[in-house]
Structures are given as C-alpha cells and as structure tokens.
C-alpha cells in the first residue's frame, strides 16, 4: 500500500448560470483588473488515500466523484493529478 494525493476539479456544467463566477469577475473589474474576461468558480478537492498504485487510486477517486463528490445533474469532474504523498 502507498499513500497518494489526488486532486479533483469539480466545475459547474457549461451553460448553467454561475453567479459566483460572475460576481467575482465584476469584483475584479472594480478592483481594476480590467483585463479579466471571464471567471468560473468550482471546487478543488484533494483526497489522500492508500492504494496499491496510482491507477487504482485514480479509479477509486473517479468512483467517489460519481457517487458523492460531483452532482451529475449540474457538475462535471476531472481528476487533475495523482501524486505520491
């Protein structure tokens, strides 16, 4: 068994209103960051777990996303990185 740290990105599905991203973009503009075109806010989840190897670790995490971490109706997820911890 080895310890892995897996990073997951959970993002609001395109087309679904993302008021948080919109508000943050506006706030950035009013702070003078006028070059900002668009902002999207999602979740960054870091899971630490024990697994035989990186692949099974990623497999397990994908399973977690489908079951709990992401909402299939409104969110997409992506395994962003698997690192030995």
């Amino acid at each position: 068994m080895n310890r892995f740290r897996i990073a997951v990105h959970i993002t609001p599905r395109r087309g679904i209103l993302d008021p948080q991203g919109k508000t943050v973009a506006e706030a950035l503009h009013s702070l003078g960051f006028t070059a900002v075109r668009d902002v999207h806010v999602g979740r960054h989840i870091v899971v630490e777990l024990d697994a035989a190897n990186a692949d099974t670790a990623a497999e397990l995490t994908r399973d977690m996303c489908q079951k709990l971490l992401a909402n299939p109706v409104t969110e997409d997820f992506e395994i962003a990185g698997v690192a030995a911890a």
Binding site: Q20, T23, V24, E26, A27, S30
Partner: protein, 759 residues
C-alpha cells in the same frame, strides 16, 4: 499563605523563562512576582502560558471587576446572576430563561466571517451549558463608514458569519442593532446575544464537584487554533495583531448543532455534574474556573486529549481555542452513559482527568507533571487594577458646545429633504439587508422579528412571550458616559415595553478602549455607574455580561459602547403590540415631551457632520412612569401600535410608523403646533428621551392612563389611508412627505451602498 507546590521539572524542548518571554506573555513585573510568590519557584513554560491566559483581561476582568461589583444583580426572580456561563431568570410555571451577550470584536476585525461566526458559536454554548435550549439570537454591530471598501467587506463578512452560523444551528436571529461611525473604523464591534429556555429543575452550573469524578473532553478535536487568543483579545489592534492572523479560528456550526443536542441530552440524563464551554483560553480556563467555583483540585493529562495534529505540546493543548469543544465533569461510574450519548450524535468523548481532594490544579503529560498551581489561587490571585481616571478635556469641551448656534443649511428649508437625509443614514435606515440573511422564523415562535422595536418570541405551551432587544448609542456615551449608559438601558426598556413587555433583566457588553488611558477608564467607570443607576431605577438587574477592552486602532479608541441586552416578559399574547400604524382613522398620541435639544443627535452628525453637545437629559423616574403607563394602556387593550422615539427623533419615529413595514404603509396627518416655541429642527429631529408614539382608537383612555402615571401626553394627529403621504404641521408651516420618498430613503439606503460589494 501559599500552599506547598511540588517542584516541576522544565519539560525538555520548552523555551527557557526569560524576561522577553514573560513580556511576550503580557505579564507585568508585578504580575510575574505574584506568580513567583504563588508557586514559590520559577514557573515552567506551560505554567507561564496558563497564567498569561487566565490573567489576561479577557479571562480575569482585572480592570473591570471592581466596577462590575457595583451593578445591581438581584431580584426575586433572578435564579443565576453574574459569574456563571449565563444569567438565568424565572418566568413562572417552572420555566426559566438563560441569556448572555458576548463580544468577538478583535477576531472579527481580522477575519470578519469566521470571527463573527465563532462569536455566535461561543455564546450559544454559554447558554446551552446552563441546561437551556437556545430559542433566539440577537446581534449588536458597529462599523466605520460604509463609504470605505474595507468597511463594506467587514460589514458583509460579519453579517454573513452571524447568519450562516445561527442559520445552520437552527436558532432564529430576531433582533439587534447596527450603527456606523468613523470611530469604529478598523475596530468593528461584534456582540452576539443568545436567549435560551429551560425548566428551573434542569438548571445546571459549571461547578466541579465530587472527588474521583472524571473530567471529560467532549466534541471537536483540539488543534493549534487561536493559541493565545485570550491575550490576543486583550491587546490593541495593531500591525502586530495583523501578524497574528493564523490565530483566527474556524467555526463548524454543524458540529455545534450536534454538540447542542448531545449536551442537552447529557444534562437531562443526570449523568454529569457540570459542563462548560472551552472558550477563551480553552481547556485552561474551563478547567480552572470549574475547579475554582467548586473549590476542589483537578488533574488533567494532556496526552489523553484528542488532538487534530500530531506533536502538540501541553502548552498548545491547554491554550488551544479550537471551537465546538466542551469540558464535562461526569458522575463517577456513569462515563458509559456519557459516551453512549455522544456516540449517538457522532461526537467523541475522552476522559482526560479527574476531580481530586488535594487543593491543586495539576497538568500532566502522561505521568510527568508539567504544571501545578495551588488550587483556586490560580484564579483568585489575579491582580485587580483601578487605574487613574479623568475626563478628556476635548470631550468636555465638545459636550459644552452650544449646538443651537450651528446655522441651518439652506436645503433645510425643506424639512422633507432633512427627513429623507436622516432616514437614509445607514445607522437609521432599515436593516433588512442584514436580517434578510438571518433565519428569523425557524423554531416557529417568532411573533415579531426584526424590523420593529423589540422582537417578540412566544413561549410554547403558555400564553406568554419574551420581548428582546439590544441597544446603545455610542455617540451619547462618548459625549457623556454616565448619561449615555443610562439612556442605553432606558431605550432597551422602552423598546421592550413598546411591544407589551415588562422589562425584567439585562445582560451587557462593555466595549471600550485601552483602560490604562485615564480618559478611557473614566468612560468605563462612569458608564458602569450610569448603567447601574438606570437598572436600579427600572428594576432590571444585571445577570451577566462581557467586557471587551482595548478596542482601539492606530487612529484612536472606538466610542465607548456599553451594549445593553434586555429581556422582557409579555404576560399575554393578546398584549403583543407592533410599532407601525395599523388602522386608518386611529388617533396618534405622543407620550412624553419634545425639547429643543439637538445635542449628540443623528441630525447633527448626518446633516452637519458634527458630534457635539450634551446628549438628551434622561429622568429615570419619568422613564419608569412612561413604561408603566404604556404597559397599563397596552394591557387595557387600547393601544393599536407603539413605537419609541430614539435616533432621529419624532420626525423619524413618525416616518417609521408610516412606512417601516412595507406590507402595510399608512399615511398620517400630524399637528405639532402645540410646541410652537420650539425650533422646528429641535421639535422634529431632537432626541429627547422618554417618548413613545402610540396609535389608538380610544385616545381619551390613553390620555387618562398617561395622566394617572403623571406622563405628559397629547393627541397629535390621525393615521391616514394606505399609501397616503405624511403631513406634518409645525409653527414653521405644513410639509408633505410622499411615502414613496420616505420608503426609498429608508429601505434602499443600505442595499444601494452595498451593491458594489462582492461575496
């Protein structure tokens, strides 16, 4: 005569005791000498930490206790006065109410959201550890000017923090106040009050008893949060405390909710003798205070405390301010029941020590002693201070200013302009932007929520209700601490009486600057004096409170702000009275007398940008008579609405009666020519005390009741149709204010100012 204390070997790895380290722990030379004398030897690092926490202002009240002792604390119905986690009063039928207010000013200045949230969590625990189920929250907030982006950030963060925590635990937030003034810039005030209901028989006190009884840590694990938070709360806010940011703690309202249910179950189970929140100075103060109250010894093994991070030292474990933790003294042999209840709620419990006969406070790490003090002296030996006090000559001069000489602005020729200016002052304007973010209706007992005078919360299974409100006008207290504090008590009482409640008792939060500065200590001394006088006159004892000093920032001290949290009792739901006009054709009666006084008024601050003059005079006997008259009239069923005159004076009070409730806005026609000798601006915007605007369909009865109590009263007009304007006639002429304009000024002011703020 100091008891013998065993020698304690310094723990390997702990820093040596040096003058620098002692200073870092905020101990003065004298205090350190007292410590040496108590121990009869040099303290260990752990002992230094323990003492620095317990002798900090926050835990020891070393600058305020002598003053607090002068406050009235007794009435036949007071079951628990100051000194416990919360005060408790009996309300009949074997029911009692526990309530207390607590400040989280410094943490909120650094991290508004978490600072406010953890403040709410702390006061909730203070109330449910008395055996009471929390039924209502209040909050009293002060900020700088909303023109500043930083202030908007603090305001938005604090309100969200208060809301999210209380909403999640499921306690309605039903009342409070918010005021804005540059003096609070950089040092906002965040005071939260909690009110709980219990059966008198369920009252439990945080007194450790019974040699051999196990001491159990309950709830969240202990991390490195907020170490030295207690001393943190006792320092001026400065660049340094900015650097102390990592000390901020994160709240977990979900765990709090479980802890609330588990604690009440524990108390009802009879398996425990005492329970206390691990609040400021965490394990240290909770264990030391419970031991001192019971005059017993305790021993605690830090290795047995469930921790969140590896390698925590006894020093860290003792001083951690991790939230949502409780210390419980259980009955020997019933540990099983205790852990069973906690398991049911998915919480952990660990026996970490026991009550011992030997009069010592002992901390071990495994079997090696790391700290040992002669029992209660640890708490009782804390030095008390009565610093020098004198009034700041500048303030005396400001008070002496003859503000009647301040020339009117040309715009003031139109009183509607002046009125809308004042209505749109964030301090006066509707606070809906705030309490819309608070769950005000959960638990289904909120008869009157935010938006009137006091809040009214019914007591299920009875015909009675509680009336609740916090109040304090810091500008008054700044210009005259004694009178200002008297007014804070009177205004809270008036607000309670306006809803039909008899004022019963108060809790209070003294928010002041650095007491080592004579002009600040003067404010503190005089304010406590005035508060005591008013409480005696109104028969509302002080059952507890909180002191927050060092509310300063590089630009100076905040206004002295002794917030009063009043609890009143409404004998019958039939008496519940609202503050806005209810029925067309009702007669409007003014109880009390206007004066010319404009001193310390919102008018001067808002229209002339002046903070000057003497606050309105207050006659405590008149205030008492007013409350008696009002309650007689309400109980007699002849009052349709009642709203007190406070900030902004009669003009603002009348406008609020017309349009504060957006679901039912009535016009009114008012004639004030009886007071033709008063200048219009004094008559309309002066803040004379002891006044209430009543609407009634039986004016003669109201006037007769007022006369019986020697309260001046006069019919001044009639309630108009829905949507009609407010007409006011004065010696200066007639003016007409369309409700739409008043509504816009009052209801849109804060939303407009907050629009640019991101979340």
């Amino acid at each position: 005569m100091s008891q013998p204390v065993h020698a304690v070997e310094p723990r390997s790895g702990d820093p040596k005791i040096t003058p620098a380290l002692i200073a870092e722990h905020g101990l003065t030379h004298d205090e350190y000498d007292k410590l040496l004398d108590m121990l009869g030897r040099e303290p260990t690092f752990t002992e230094l930490g323990v003492v620095s926490a317990l002798w900090s202002e926050h835990c020891s009240y070393k600058h305020s206790r002598p003053l607090l002792r002068t406050l009235p604390t007794e009435a036949p119905y007071v079951l628990q006065g100051p000194g416990e986690n919360a005060g408790v009063i009996s309300i009949g039928d074997g029911l009692a109410v526990a309530f207390k207010i607590e400040s989280h000013n410094h943490p909120s200045a650094v991290e508004p959201y978490q600072g406010a949230a953890t403040g709410v969590g702390g006061i909730l625990r203070d109330v449910f550890t008395m055996g009471a189920r929390p039924i209502a929250m209040l909050n009293s907030l002060r900020f700088g000017s909303l023109d500043s982006a930083r202030v908007r950030y603090l305001f938005a963060g604090v309100v969200k923090g208060v809301g999210d925590y209380g909403n999640c635990v499921g306690i309605p937030t039903v009342a409070g106040e918010v005021a804005f003034d540059p003096s609070y810039e950089g040092n906002p005030l965040v005071n939260a009050m909690c009110v709980g209901l219990l059966h008198e028989t369920e009252l439990i006190r945080a007194v450790a008893q019974g040699v051999g009884n196990p001491i159990i840590a309950v709830g969240a694990r202990t991390g490195r949060d907020g170490i030295n938070g207690a001393s943190f709360a006792s320092e001026d806010l400065s660049a340094e405390s900015e650097a102390k940011r990592p000390r901020v703690q994160v709240g977990d309202p979900f765990t709090e909710k479980l802890l609330l249910e588990a604690s009440l179950e524990l108390i009802r189970s009879g398996a425990i003798v005492a329970i206390q929140d691990m609040g400021a100075a965490g394990l240290t103060s909770s264990s030391a205070e419970m031991a001192a109250r019971g005059d017993v010894g305790v021993t605690i093994d830090t290795l047995k405390v469930p921790v969140r991070e590896a390698g925590m030292t006894p020093y860290e474990i003792l001083l951690s301010e991790s939230q949502e933790r409780m210390l419980v003294v259980a009955k020997q042999g019933r540990e099983g029941e205790v852990s069973a209840i906690l398991e049911k709620w998915d919480l952990t419990a660990a026996v970490i020590g026991e009550v011992i006969a030997e009069p010592v406070y002992r901390v071990t790490e495994g079997d090696r002693v790391v700290a040992e003090f002669p029992g209660i002296r640890l708490v009782t030996d804390c030095p008390m201070y009565t610093p020098e006090a004198y009034e700041s000559p500048e303030v005396a001069a400001l008070r002496a200013t003859d503000v009647s000489l301040i020339a009117e602005r040309p715009e003031e020729r139109d009183p509607v302009w002046t009125l809308t200016q004042i209505l749109s002052s964030p301090t006066i304007a509707a606070k809906t932007w705030v309490h819309r973010q608070y769950d005000t209706t959960v638990r289904t007992n909120t008869v009157i929520g935010p938006g009137g005078d006091a809040a009214v919360v019914r007591i299920r299974g009875t015909d009675r209700a509680l009336a609740l409100k916090t109040d304090c006008n810091g500008r008054y207290v700044y210009l005259d601490p004694r009178v200002g504090a008297q007014i804070a008590v009177c205004e809270a009482a008036r607000n309670v009486a306006c809803t039909g409640g008899r004022p019963m008792a108060i809790t209070n939060n003294l928010n002041f600057g650095n007491p080592k500065r004579p002009e600040v200590y003067f404010q503190l001394r005089e304010a406590v004096r005035g508060m005591g006088e008013a409480c005696r006159a109104l028969g509302t004892p002080v059952t507890g409170g909180n002191v927050s000093l060092y509310n300063e920032n590089p630009t100076g001290a905040v206004y002295p702000t002794p917030v009063v949290g009043m609890v009143g009792l409404i004998d019958s739901l039939a008496h519940v009275t609202r503050s806005h006009f209810q029925e067309e054709h009702d007669t409007i009666v003014l109880l009390g007398e206007p004066t010319a006084s404009l001193g310390a008024s919102e008018y001067l601050a808002r229209i002339h940008d002046r903070v000057a003059g003497a606050p309105p005079v207050v006659d405590l006997n008149d205030e008492r008579a007013l409350i008696e008259a009002l309650l007689d009239a309400i109980r007699g069923g002849v009052v349709r609405s009642a709203h007190d005159c406070s900030d902004g004076g009669l003009g603002v009070a009348l406008a609020e009666c017309c349009m504060m409730d957006r679901n039912a806005q009535h016009g009114a026609t008012v004639d004030l020519t009886h007071w033709r000798e008063l200048p219009d601006r004094g008559l309309l915007f002066g803040e004379a005390q002891g006044r209430v605007v009543v609407s009634t369909n039986m004016p003669d009865t109201v006037l007769a009741i007022a006369a019986k109590h020697g309260v001046p009263a006069r019919a001044i007009g009639r309630v108009g149709p829905v949507g009609a304007p407010l007409h006011i006639t004065t010696a200066g002429g007639v003016f007409t204010a369309p409700l739409a304009r008043l509504d816009e000024a009052y209801h849109e002011a804060i939303p407009r100012l907050m629009a640019p703020t991101a979340v």
